[in-house]
């Protein structure tokens, strides 16, 4: 029974199924937040996750990965961020309902009133500090910090993994070259986070939990936070084994697992498969279709959206803020787009100029 379950999970698990089902859950969550945060839906989901871990802990491979000392925080992170996402969404929905009835948000009832910091705020801080300190000591006694063999530059462990909070970036390396996944995207994540308050400036929705009035902003943020950051960390930590091959949660990390590499560049698709001309000699001819495609991707949608779907944003933000916002969104979407291209067509690079280490 449990064995069948494990095999079922293993055969279902793949980057595309996991990413797609997470996307479906995410879309449901932001479309029906009130229903999704009700106990009738939340509790069964929590029960399924807990049951999954409970069943999983009977499997030696699963145990060895999940209880690796450095991986324990990720399991904790999953539940902690899950809880706080649920909590903030629930509060937001409550405030949305209040405001729909014409009442002020709940925080407003107390925001005019002032209380003394000592004791009311310091009391909270003190209790939290105490709880954390006790928790940390217990955690430290129960779980030893890992210490492996002495560093040896001649023996590379397989897989070699970055610290867990950077595994989202390492997972991106599957789809993009290091100059994008390791340099450009992290830079854009930082710039994008910094840009948020300069793009979203409505002060009517500041200082309390709300969702309806901020639906687009919160959706983008949650997408980045959950799908492009936490989900990729989970996949990179728990499901990527030797040679960065994908393994199901209950699959043995076999160093000799053979995965055929069938990935093909866009230029090869066009010049070899479709036109049957053979690859042109000069790189700028060879990569012209890919370069044009990338340029179109960054130039056409902003212009079209400004006239149609994003018309009111364009009006509100002005050309500079609007362009920055759309560029950041396009870069953000570039990751899932490339992922699906890879899964659907085995597309390796859209633009491949290895002469200059310039591959997209």
């Amino acid at each position: 029974m449990i064995e069948t379950f494990r095999q079922l999970v293993n055969s279902f698990a793949s980057p595309v199924t996991i990413f797609t089902s997470a996307m479906v859950l995410f879309i449901l969550f932001v479309t029906f937040p009130a229903q999704m945060t009700s106990p009738w839906i939340t509790l069964p989901i929590v029960a399924v996750v807990v049951a999954f871990f409970a069943v999983g802990l009977t499997d030696p491979h699963f145990v060895s990965i999940v209880t690796a000392p450095d991986n324990v925080p990720i399991v904790a992170l999953l539940f902690i961020t899950g809880y706080f996402t649920w909590y903030s969404m629930r509060k937001a929905c409550e405030n949305d309902r209040r405001m729909a009835r014409g009442e002020p948000p709940k925080e407003k009832l107390e925001s005019e009133e002032k209380v003394l910091v000592f004791p009311y705020l310091i009391y909270i801080e003190f209790v939290i500090a105490l709880v954390y300190a006790i928790g940390l000591v217990v955690w430290s006694i129960l779980l030893k910090a890992p210490l492996e063999e002495p560093a040896n530059p001649t023996v590379a462990p397989n897989p070699s993994k970055a610290p867990w909070y950077f595994l989202g970036l390492q997972e991106m390396l599957v789809y993009y070259d290091p100059w994008i996944a390791g340099v450009l995207f992290p830079t854009l994540i930082i710039i994008g986070l910094c840009a948020i308050p300069y793009i979203d400036r409505d002060t009517e929705t500041s200082g309390f939990f709300s969702f309806k009035a901020r639906r687009p902003v919160i959706t983008v943020f949650l997408f980045g936070f959950w799908i492009l950051w936490i989900l990729l960390i989970l996949v990179g930590t728990f499901l990527r084994g030797p040679n960065w091959n994908f393994f199901g949660p209950f699959e043995f990390w076999d160093v000799h697992k053979v995965v055929p590499l069938l990935n093909v560049n866009l230029s090869e698709f066009i010049f070899i498969k479709w036109l049957a001309w053979g690859l042109p000699k000069q790189w700028f001819v060879r990569e012209a279709p890919g370069i044009i495609l990338v340029l179109l991707y960054f130039m056409v949608p902003p212009a079209i959206l400004a006239k149609t779907l994003f018309k009111k944003y364009y009006k509100k933000l002005g050309p500079v803020r609007y362009s920055v916002m759309v560029m950041l969104l396009l870069f953000m979407l570039a990751l899932p787009i490339k992922m699906y291209f890879r899964w659907a067509f085995n597309l390796k690079y859209i633009v491949a100029i290895p002469e200059f280490f310039f591959n997209i």
Partner: protein
């Protein structure tokens, strides 16, 4: 016979709290009067990070999750446990690993390293949660934009602190995690020797950006993760980044008050 005035009974508590030593340290009483409570904050340099009064909605755990305050507290515990670790640790290839083993084997009831390592993981989580809360309550909006930016920089520095500390045990886990992480710097456009555009930076046949002169070399102090990297990461971890973090935290906390305290609906 007239009653002699009764000698008052000796009261130890009074003797202490009314003596010169006590009064020099604490200049107010501890009654529940508003005056004493205000003075508790005003006359204490640590509590003085706070204003005397805050919005009632802001003093709710359900609103702030205390995630920012907790991040600061976690940082303090990391400073303390980190200082203790520095007594035992030498950042050289010869000693680093053995010092960690010694820490584990010879220090009685030694959980310092655990406190520091798990604390580092915890700080990353609390900082993420803090950012998440500030986002979900819309607290980054004007006039708090710039404080959000400082917060983002602090978030990045928190991860860099953890990343630089990851190398110090000098075991296989450490060395190869840093190797994987720092290999990305190789591909920095123009500045990494395998980055796009780096080959354009040349004078005649002489390449300006090589494995011996790119950003990765600057980070590691060598072409691979070796003695130079260990020393650099040690100094970044123990001195350079914490200094920047402390300065930015001071700005971050100060700006909270200057931008109107814990946010609330307008």
């Amino acid at each position: 016979m007239a009653d002699a005035p009764k000698k008052p009974k000796f009261d130890l508590a009074k003797f202490i709290t009314e003596g010169q030593i006590w009064k020099s340290m604490f200049r107010h009483g501890y009654t529940t009067s508003d005056r004493d409570r205000s003075l508790s904050v005003l006359t204490n340099v640590f509590f003085h990070l706070h204003p005397v009064k805050v919005r009632k909605s802001g003093a709710r755990f359900g609103f702030t999750w205390c995630a920012g305050g907790l991040s600061f507290f976690v940082f303090l515990t990391l400073v303390v446990s980190g200082i203790l670790l520095m007594f035992y640790y030498r950042p050289t290839v010869e000693y680093a690993y053995n010092d960690i083993v010694a820490l584990r084997e010879h220090v009685p009831f030694g959980i310092m390293r655990e406190l520091h390592r798990w604390g580092a993981h915890a700080m990353i989580i609390t900082v993420w949660i803090h950012m998440f809360r500030v986002f979900m309550t819309g607290s980054y909006k004007p006039p708090r934009e710039f404080n959000w930016v400082i917060g983002v920089i602090l978030l990045v520095l928190t991860m860099l602190l953890s990343f630089t500390g990851y190398l110090l045990p000098w075991d296989q886990l450490a060395m190869w995690a840093i190797t994987v992480g720092s290999n990305m710097a190789r591909a920095t456009p123009f500045l990494g020797h395998e980055g796009p555009g780096a080959s354009l930076l040349s004078i005649g046949d002489i390449q300006l950006v090589t494995a011996g002169s790119d950003v990765r070399f600057a980070l590691l102090g060598g072409r691979f993760v070796g003695a130079g990297a260990l020393l650099r990461f040690y100094i970044l971890h123990c001195v350079a980044i914490p200094t920047v973090v402390v300065i930015l935290m001071a700005v971050h906390f100060w700006r909270i008050r200057k931008d109107g305290g814990i946010s609330g609906p307008l």
